[in-house]
Amino acid sequence: MTTTTLGRSKRSVADLLFDICNTLFLLALLVLTLYPVMNTLAVSFNQAQDTVRDSTFLWPREFTTLNYSTLFQDGLIYHAFFISVARTLLGTGSSVFCTAMLAYTLSRKEYMLRGPISFIFIFTMYFSGGLIPTYMLIKNLQLYGTFWVYVIPGLIGAFNLIVMRSFMEGLPESLVESAQIDGATHFSIFLRIILPLSLPVIATIALFVAVGQWNSWFDTFLYNSSNINLSTLQYELMKKLQSANMSVGGTAESAFASSKNIQANIVTPASIRAAITVVATVPIIIVYPFLQKYFVTGLTLGGVKE
């Protein structure tokens, strides 16, 4: 009797120690993950000259919204924000709809082209023409320097297609059959039955695509860098980052470099950069808690062998 209790209490001490260490590790991870974000937020709300004097940590020392108001006085940033929003909305909407429609046809087991089309798409996951041939294709298709270059090339991704197809294959077959008996066409079955039932997977894919659209800068850099009207928020931020990197040593020096300028006595490039970073991040932070419950299922589904 006594030995068992002793053994049990001994085990629970080890257990407790394990739990404490585990919790401490995870807390450290929380701090490491959040600190850079909090710090940038603090810098963006701190008075710029004060940031140059001494670095801010978690809280702004001299609170100001001047960095933001200066940022949005710049018409370019304002415009870039709207281009970013437009490409995210249009790009996500069209991509999700087209992917779902194709996935529906490929989820129909009787469809004769189901195998070949699936294979042709899956193959693109491993084999692609690469940067230069794709660049020349975009030029040849007259998409270069247009807004459509944000929407069309990324319309259907093979991975998203597979995830949607697997989900739709899991829906009960009888739904489609009974609708067919009632005389519904495939398009209306897709639109009225399959699409609403696929909401969880659609939310997941929409989140992936929307985040990808909002975050991308490379297509702007490659195809639209000469057309300032089509610049996006991320690309503007990237330009600011590059100019900071090119001035040797990064943040602190680039801030000093422009202090000859009278304007720079009020804001510095570093503070402006922090402000754009926050603006470029906020929409994602607002959206993702709503979709969080879906994406775990979505990711697990996609990870399973197709």
Binding site: L29, T33, G130, V248, T300
Partner: protein, 318 residues
């Protein structure tokens, strides 16, 4: 007897023909819904493969592709005599390997730790926060990393105040730190996200195994070693294979955004090389050859890894 057979045959044939016809008719709708996308993917994913011809030509801007001068493997030969290209391969492999090892160890570690947390609230908070960086763009992440690593950033302040270093270090200007900074920032960004799939795999492990182990007197570490880890072995192997196929992919945005002029010798990857020679210097044939090299090596690696997994009797990708 034979009459009935004939009859049955006749009957099924009559039945079959309209069925086939109706099948074809119903598939017309499916075809209309899918064939435009087939055309789309052929244009956007397969037509660029035709551009591979450039690598074997001396391509001149604005010319029709087939009319260019054919040069055989000259571009490839030049590529492998180019010191820059050799260096770029070294950088790509080094950073990919660091990312692969760090990424796997850290995300499996996090999944194991989260799996041991009993307080549901705490687990959820840690998870939610650890996914967050995955959703930030590399531009934003690079900004955050630059702030933390700057001369008066938190890392320097901390290390100086702990007397680990005397002077603040310009982290991003030191060649020898660059690969590790890339590795660490990659872990920071993706750890939570990559842990999801392992956590999901862990939930499918039979709880009675753990109960049996506790009765046998196994501690937490033993249970992790003998139950949890073997339980997720299959998914680890699959992800490893998938990642090996993408080993030469690891690295464009991070390196491009975080590099400073002082570290180019260590930061340039194959993708940056292709961009620089192809787009900036308009050497299309040369850059395409470099791109082909990358794709071919990736596919070979993927096939090799898959075959290895097959031989080891593990689950595999295809």
């Amino acid at each position: 007897m034979s009459v009935t057979v004939e009859r049955v045959k006749e009957h099924t044939q009559i039945q079959k023909r309209p069925r086939k016809w109706s099948k074809l008719r119903s598939q017309k709708a499916l075809m209309i819904m899918s064939i435009p996308f087939l055309v789309y993917v052929i244009i956007f994913a397969y037509v660029p493969l035709y551009g591979w011809m450039m690598a074997f030509q001396n391509y001149k801007l604005g010319s029709v592709m087939v009319e260019n001068e054919w040069v055989g493997l000259a571009n490839f030969r030049e590529l492998f005599q180019d010191e820059n290209f050799i260096r770029v391969i070294r950088n790509t492999l080094a950073m990919s390997l660091i990312n692969l090892v760090f990424g796997f160890v850290s995300s499996i570690g996090l999944a194991l730790m989260l799996n041991e947390v009993r307080k549901v609230m705490f687990k959820r908070v840690v998870q939610t926060v650890s996914y967050l960086p995955h959703f930030l763009s590399w531009v934003v992440a690079a900004n955050l990393i630059m702030n933390v690593l700057s001369i008066d950033g938190a890392v320097n302040k901390l290390l100086v105040s702990l007397h680990i270093i005397k002077e603040p270090i310009m982290w991003l200007s030191e060649q020898h730190y660059f690969w590790w900074i890339i590795g660490a920032s990659n872990v920071w960004k993706e750890i939570g996200w990559s842990a999801i799939i392992y956590l999901a795999a862990m939930t499918t492990i039979d709880p009675s195994l753990y109960e049996a182990a506790s009765i046998d007197g196994a501690g937490r570490f033993r249970k992790i070693r003998h139950i949890t880890l073997p339980g997720i072995r299959g998914i680890i192997v699959i992800l490893l294979i998938m990642n090996i196929g993408h080993i030469l992919d690891a690295g464009f945005e991070q390196q491009y955004l975080l590099q400073t002029p002082m570290v180019v010798d260590f930061s340039e990857t194959i993708d940056i090389f292709v961009l620089k020679y192809g787009i900036n210097l308009s050497r299309f044939s040369f850059a395409t050859a470099a791109g082909i090299f990358k794709t071919v090596i990736s596919v070979v690696l993927l096939l090799a890894a898959n075959r290895m997994a097959k031989r080891m009797g593990q689950e595999r990708l295809f």
